[in-house]
């Protein structure tokens, strides 16, 4: 029982969460810069998919840009101006998140605006958007502004907290679920069993970056690559936990995702997935210094000067308990 308690509540450093915050924000800023030349093509009502089609493809009950553009239109603001304003607000929110300035507010704004853009151009999305949406949501609640942030510079934050540990555990568990479910979905596929999946992924024009025609002469290599990926994904949720094997799994996972980034051209997806494992399992969660909420009963749950971002954000919620 004590071990379980320690597993979930032993005070942890904010650094892994801060690393995650910086990685997610930096990746999404890069994505925004890459997309910007075709901004209106993806999100404009007269873009590649006109407004009616945008509505068909977006999931019901999700926010879209059209109602906001229509609202501003009634005040005489042109669609292009409205879209630039939304895009500017998104970049501003991501920059604040990157810097850890008003982290909770920045994360909330980034999450909502990212969701809105994602839902507006739903059929252009891929894995990177799914993961960005998930982890931006986490960033609203986790104390990611507790380190490497403007917020932590402005306040004398604790170096570690049980909120950081609990957040870290939920995020780590999520990553394990991602890899295990992904492996189970893949292993039943004949392409994965024969290694044909590697050949197809590397040769399809949408992913093809280099000449891989030589792989056809080495089917055993394709098979090793496929089973190696499956082995890593299956082993992830087990071997990422013991200290003795963790660093090997972290490095192997980083290698896998950087390989995806370089050889399949999924640059942002590869970088983001690399960042998840590298920050949540690669950054040491132990921290020296005072333990914040553990230090004294007065500090334990007082949302005073030393409160982390999440504690301040959730103060109204907690006060109701």
């Amino acid at each position: 029982m004590k071990a379980i308690y320690k597993f979930f509540f032993r005070p942890a450093s904010f650094r892994p969460l801060a690393g995650l915050r910086i990685a997610v924000a930096a990746t999404l800023i890069a994505q925004a810069v890459f997309i910007s030349p075709e901004f209106f093509e993806f999100f404009g009502r007269a873009g590649l998919l006109q407004e009616g089609l945008q509505r068909i493809f977006s999931e019901p009950g999700t926010p879209r840009l059209a109602p906001y553009v229509n609202l501003l239109g009634t005040w005489g603001i042109a669609e292009r101006t409205a879209l630039w304003l939304a895009g500017g607000a998104y970049l501003l929110a991501l920059t604040a998140l990157l810097l850890g300035f008003k982290t909770c507010v920045a994360a909330t704004a980034s999450w909502f605006l990212h969701w809105t853009f994602m839902s507006t151009a739903a059929c252009a999305n891929y894995g990177v958007d799914v993961f960005a949406h998930i982890f931006l949501f986490y960033l609203i609640f986790i104390p990611s502004g507790g380190a490497w942030s403007v917020d932590s510079l402005r306040r004398a934050n604790a170096l570690r907290s049980w909120t950081a540990r609990l957040s870290l555990r939920v995020l780590q568990f999520h990553l394990c679920a991602v890899y295990l479910s992904s492996a189970l979905d893949k292993v039943v596929g004949p392409q994965w069993q024969t290694g044909e999946v590697m050949w197809r992924a590397l040769m399809l024009p949408v992913y093809n970056q280099f000449d891989f025609t030589w792989l056809a002469a080495l089917p055993w290599l394709a098979k090793i690559m496929a089973w190696g990926s499956l082995g890593l994904e299956f082993g992830y949720c087990v071997f990422i936990w013991p200290k003795a094997t963790r660093k090997y799994v972290v490095w192997a996972t980083v290698g896998l995702h950087l390989g995806i980034a370089v050889f399949l051209g999924l640059h942002l997806f590869g970088v983001l997935m690399t960042a998840f494992t590298a920050t949540l399992f690669g950054i040491d969660a132990r921290a020296t210094g005072f333990a914040g909420p553990n230090v004294s009963s007065r500090r334990r749950f007082s949302f005073g000067k030393r409160a982390s971002t999440v504690e301040r954000c959730l103060a109204p919620v907690r006060s109701s308990f």
Binding site: F34, L53, G61, H133, L166, A177, V178, S181, M203, F321
Partner: protein, 173 residues
């Protein structure tokens, strides 16, 4: 006491969230009713009910969209892709958009609307165009055995449609 309660509450929240992550990851259906509705709504907000079957159970084929820009005399002025080649990320997303043309067997009417929308963009890029022919081709990749035996990848026509500028009349292939 207050701190202990807070820990219990946040652990419950975290574990409930984690349970939803598991249900989503393994695509376990919660059946019908209020719990499912609430989980669906929460899943939309948090992404917790997302699946992660990328490249699973295998890698399918791919479509490309090409546009023949035709002038008033019927001559082909240019043959252009939908992707503008500004950068890989933008092109990748346009490629994903094209992929929806055949995803989940959409209705013919929806496919027509998609090609019309794309053709409109090409008309905007080529003001001199009198007509645009949209051609969607599927990439046929032989497996490794057949490739070694000499077979090579080809593009085969999957769909085509022609749009005229003055009259929004279209002929389907």
């Amino acid at each position: 006491m207050k701190r202990r309660s807070a820990k219990k509450i946040w652990l419950t929240v975290g574990l409930t969230h984690a349970a939803l992550v598991l249900l989503g990851a393994f695509q376990i259906n919660l059946g019908h009713g209020l719990v499912r509705e609430l989980a669906t709504i929460y899943g939309k907000f948090s992404g917790s009910t997302s699946g992660y079957a990328f490249f699973a159970p295998g890698v399918g084929s791919t479509l490309r969209a090409t546009f023949n820009v035709i002038d008033e005399k019927g001559a082909v002025l240019a043959r252009v892709p939908l992707e503008q080649g500004k950068n890989h990320e933008a092109d990748l997303r346009v490629g994903n958009m094209i992929g929806w043309f055949w995803k989940d067997n959409p209705k013919r009417e929806l496919q027509r609307s998609m090609t019309a929308s794309w053709a409109a963009k090409i008309f905007a890029r080529y003001p001199r165009a009198a007509a645009i022919e949209v051609v969607l081709e599927e990439f046929q990749l032989p497996d490794m055995d057949r490739y070694r035996a000499g077979e090579r990848p080809t593009w085969t026509k999957y769909y085509s449609a022609k749009f005229k500028k003055a009259v929004a009349k279209k002929k389907e292939a």
